[in-house]
Symmetry: C2
Subunit: 186 residues, 2 copies
DNA sequence: CTTCATCATGAATCATGGTTCACTTTCCTG
DNA sequence: CAGGAAAGTGAACCATGATTCATGATGAAG
């Protein structure tokens, strides 16, 4: 229903080269990298970018989707481990740290969401939300997590992480922030 | 040493109109408002903007300075009150909330720092830092504030506030975050 | 009331970067 | 292997927005 005829071989090849180049450059320099730069890095002409992604926003969105997908997998894996008996709070903490570090690396990927009006909306990622809910519930059952903490709270936490700060600052920030999620505090 | 001859009357007048207009527009629409728009709002020609502020960055910087100045006064006032006997932790909490709300209003003012490379660097504001240190020390003396909390931690807190979120989210965020600063937690 | 140093004006200039499209090249089917 | 559709190319086009500067206006000193 989507693809009347399959993509031509060279088209497939180029599409990948473009996405890779875009990912690299956007990660490194932010979403404001010129299309020309991405094209050059991909070894393709600008026109080709536009054949595959009708607009820059679309391209950025595609890169973003990759990132979100990876993060979703991370959450689901954590949920799996907990289901297999691992300590929920431990997994949750590690997960938060992992997601933040990934985002800090991919820096611009995050900024991309704002900068361009690319579709990000983690709230919409049902899979991630489901897995995260599972983790939260488990943590609360263990009495480690404050009972009123929600998925939205975690998204808020991730959204406010100081991604542009050096690692040590990010760590300090986690130390300062996490207590608010703990059952004991408050 | 700075002003060989005093500014001409109309120059003074225009300078103020420009700063006011810039403040308004940057606050409302962010630092990306065109210079032309600011000029129009100020009832002046673009050229005049450039006479007073050689570069857009300078103009944004000037607007920023105003904001920082206001915030500095807020901190100093809080310190004064504590010195006069008020409860330090209470003042500190109120101060954080006040500064965040102000920034949320002035939204763009904050964004301005990033967007344009305008000089912001709150760390450099010695006066504010001094007053804040006083508040922190007092809070720790009362046993309300965790003993390892520093001025930098508060700046980090402010820097990560979700300014673009609605009021309720900001409040929730404070509820979640502040416990990490409390002596009891951790 | 001159006079001129300041200041203001705003059209023109420059730079950047997204997007288009007439034309060429490449795949793939028959 | 010929033919046409699919894909690629990149110079040109367009929009936006910062910055300049030749020219005109206006404060203030004498």
């Amino acid at each position: 229903m989507t693809q009347a005829r399959p993509l031509r071989a060279d088209a497939v090849r180029n599409r990948k080269k473009i996405l890779d180049a875009a990912h690299l450059l956007i990660t490194r320099h932010g979403p404001e990298v010129p299309m020309d730069a991405i094209a050059e890095a991909a070894g393709v002409a600008v026109g080709t970018l536009y054949r595959h992604y009708p607009t820059k926003t679309d391209l950025v969105g595609a890169v973003l989707s990759r990132h979100v997908e990876r993060m979703t997998l991370a959450v689901e894996e954590a949920a799996d481990r907990v289901r297999a008996g691992e300590h929920a709070m431990t997994e949750l903490t590690a997960l938060v740290s992992r997601v933040i570090e990934a985002a800090a690396q991919d820096h611009a990927v995050k900024a991309a969401a704002q900068g361009v009006g690319a579709s990000y909306a983690p709230e919409n990622d049902t899979r991630a939300a489901a897995a995260l809910t599972e983790l939260i519930t488990a943590g609360q059952a263990d009495g480690d997590l404050h009972s009123d903490v929600t998925v939205a709270d975690f998204y808020l936490l991730l959204a406010t992480a100081p991604l542009d700060q050096p690692r040590e600052v990010r760590d300090r920030w986690l130390t300062l922030t996490l207590p608010g999620f703990t059952a004991a505090a408050r």
